[in-house]
């Protein structure tokens, strides 16, 4: 997957979690926590959805790298480069 495809995949996960939010205005540089008020249970959900959908394993010490869309895509790019979209 390319970074653009990974961004779309993460966005799809976020849309599933926060179904009442309009994510079209999401700012990639701002923390999810601030924009979407996601709590720790929701972050666990992003990790588990990535595992469920793409078999990507994210160790707990790396969770902080999923803070914003930009940092998440950057972190996932090497992990997901061999996955077909």
């Amino acid at each position: 997957m390319t970074p653009v495809e990974i961004r779309a995949a993460v966005l799809d996960i976020l849309e599933g979690i926060a179904q009442d939010d309009d994510l079209s205005q999401l700012d990639d540089g701002t923390a999810f926590r601030e924009q979407l008020e996601l709590d720790s249970m929701d972050f666990l959900d992003i990790v588990m959805e990535l595992r469920k959908r793409y078999r990507v394993q994210i160790p707990e010490e790396d969770y902080p790298r999923l803070g914003s869309m930009a940092s998440t895509v950057e972190y996932l790019t090497p992990l997901m480069k061999d996955i077909s979209a």
């Binding site: 599933g16 979690i17 179904q19 009442d20 939010d21 008020e37 249970m41 666990l44």
Partner: protein
């Protein structure tokens, strides 16, 4: 072999089941009753729909709210806000002799009511608001403080303390007389700071949404399958034995049957078990030939108490204590214009009852006492709400026996045991509690309980 077996198809069990099935766990919910819901259920009688348990959904927050338990559970369950079809309350009240405090889903009304009736307590109320602990910041130490001790330091008018406590105890306090401060904070937020709402179709709408989702995700729900025993090997739960003798294996077991009840499934009755709850209720349901507002009753919920002191104890010298009660009219919510009015006017009244005394009655006495207490409850309530008695066209009533018969909770205790197990752990590895005895009450609280325990002990591993 299941990844997880869940005991009980109430709100917490179904919510836990949805989480686990969503993440591809093989999960089975076992329910002894013929239908779902547990303490919050529904039935049909004489061609009318009735709710049990639910008077209102607490923790109401408007569409788009991102914080609080309702928003959190919608995200966790992947539901939209609309899926619960919540309509807000009109207005509720706390009625004590000579004093009335109205409240709705905006704290400003309660604040102004306190300023009007207790002008010297305005600052104290603000102090209390500052002391209310957020849901996420409650720890065991704060949780078990005495609410009465804290409130008597803050307020100098004991009557206001009693009035504020009345709805909060009524809607979820398993302890007699006093209340854990943690429980008080949870209830204060859920009732006074968030508020009441109800789906037009009642609790069945929420339950049916939960079950549909659970099944779509591949979860198995087995009704009429009561768990007689939990099987253990080397201190670890490995499965259950059903009432009919069938054995089912599971790697993890989540039980919403209650703490005492679950321990009994492990160890039998021979070993000492934790103390079950003592507080049970009767509820009278009167169907009227008109909407309650047509006889001047437009309040959603009225919490009444007929003396300056609020008595929150199991009655000891009588089958019931009707000095205090809750009058709920499911008609009095702000339903959408396209829904209109509910087909019937309904007045539900809940009062305290002594489970053991009800259990001792033989069938003829039981019927007679039921009729008697139906009338006494109404007689007590009409001191605080419009007299609806000449408009009644149908009625039903439940007692502690009914609660016990359909939920299998010891003592027919609606709010469970007084000692809550906040982390859901039991002495047995692989067995965890969810639901009422884990610490959360109400519809939203029990759903959150199921989600939290499923996340923590199954998904996080």
């Amino acid at each position: 072999m299941y990844d997880t077996i869940i005991i009980g198809a109430g709100m917490s069990g179904l919510a836990a089941g949805i989480r686990l099935a969503h993440y591809d766990r093989k999960v089975c919910v076992l329910e002894r009753h013929t239908t779902i819901g547990g303490l919050n259920s529904f039935y049909r009688l004489n061609r009318r729909d009735y709710d049990v348990g639910l008077h209102a959904v607490t923790n109401f927050t408007p569409r788009g709210t991102k914080k609080g338990p309702l928003a959190r559970l919608l995200r966790q369950l992947r539901f939209r806000w609309e899926d619960f079809s919540l309509s807000e309350q009109i207005q509720s009240a706390i009625e004590f002799p000579g004093v009335s405090l109205r409240f709705d889903n905006d704290i400003e009304l309660l604040r102004s009511e306190i300023a009007r009736s207790f002008p010297t307590q305005v600052d104290a109320f603000e102090t209390l608001l500052g002391r209310i602990v957020d849901y996420d910041d409650l720890d065991q130490e704060v949780y078990s403080l005495s609410t009465r001790a804290i409130l008597s330091e803050i307020f100098t008018e004991p009557l206001l303390v009693e009035m504020l406590l009345c709805p909060l105890m009524w809607y979820g306090n398993a302890r007699e007389h006093d209340m854990d401060f943690g429980q008080f904070c949870i209830m204060f937020r859920s009732i006074y700071l968030e508020g009441f709402a109800r789906p037009f179709k009642g609790v069945r709408l929420i339950l049916k949404n939960l079950v549909r989702r659970f099944r779509e995700l591949g979860g198995e729900l087995k009704l009429r399958k009561g768990v007689a025993r939990i099987r253990m090997e080397g201190g670890r739960a490995v499965g259950v034995v059903l009432d009919d003798g069938t054995e089912i294996e599971g790697k993890v077991i989540l039980s919403s049957a209650g703490r005492t009840e679950t321990m009994r499934m492990c160890f039998g009755s021979a070993t000492p078990l934790p103390e079950p709850g003592q507080l049970s209720f009767i509820e009278t349901i009167a169907v009227l030939d008109r909407q309650p507002r047509e006889i001047g009753h437009d309040r959603t919920i009225v919490f009444f108490n007929d003396s300056p002191q609020f008595h929150w104890r199991r009655p000891t010298d009588s089958l019931c204590d009707v000095r205090t009660g809750v009058v709920c009219s499911p008609n009095n919510f702000r339903y959408a214009p396209e829904d209109g009015d509910l087909p019937d006017g309904v007045i539900r009244i809940t009062a305290l009852a002594d489970h053991d005394a009800w259990r001792r009655l033989d069938e003829p006495d039981y019927r007679r006492e039921k009729a008697l207490w139906f009338d006494r409850t109404a007689e007590s309530a009409v001191r605080f709400v419009s007299d609806y008695r000449s408009y009644v066209v149908d009625s039903d009533m439940f007692t502690p026996n009914t609660i016990r018969r359909f939920t299998w909770h010891d003592n027919g205790a609606v709010y469970g045991a007084p000692e809550k197990v906040l982390d859901g752990r039991t002495p047995i590895e692989g067995l965890y509690l969810c639901g009422t005895d884990q610490g959360y009450v109400g519809i939203i609280g029990s759903i959150i309980s199921g989600l939290t325990i499923a996340n923590r002990y199954v998904l996080a591993n």
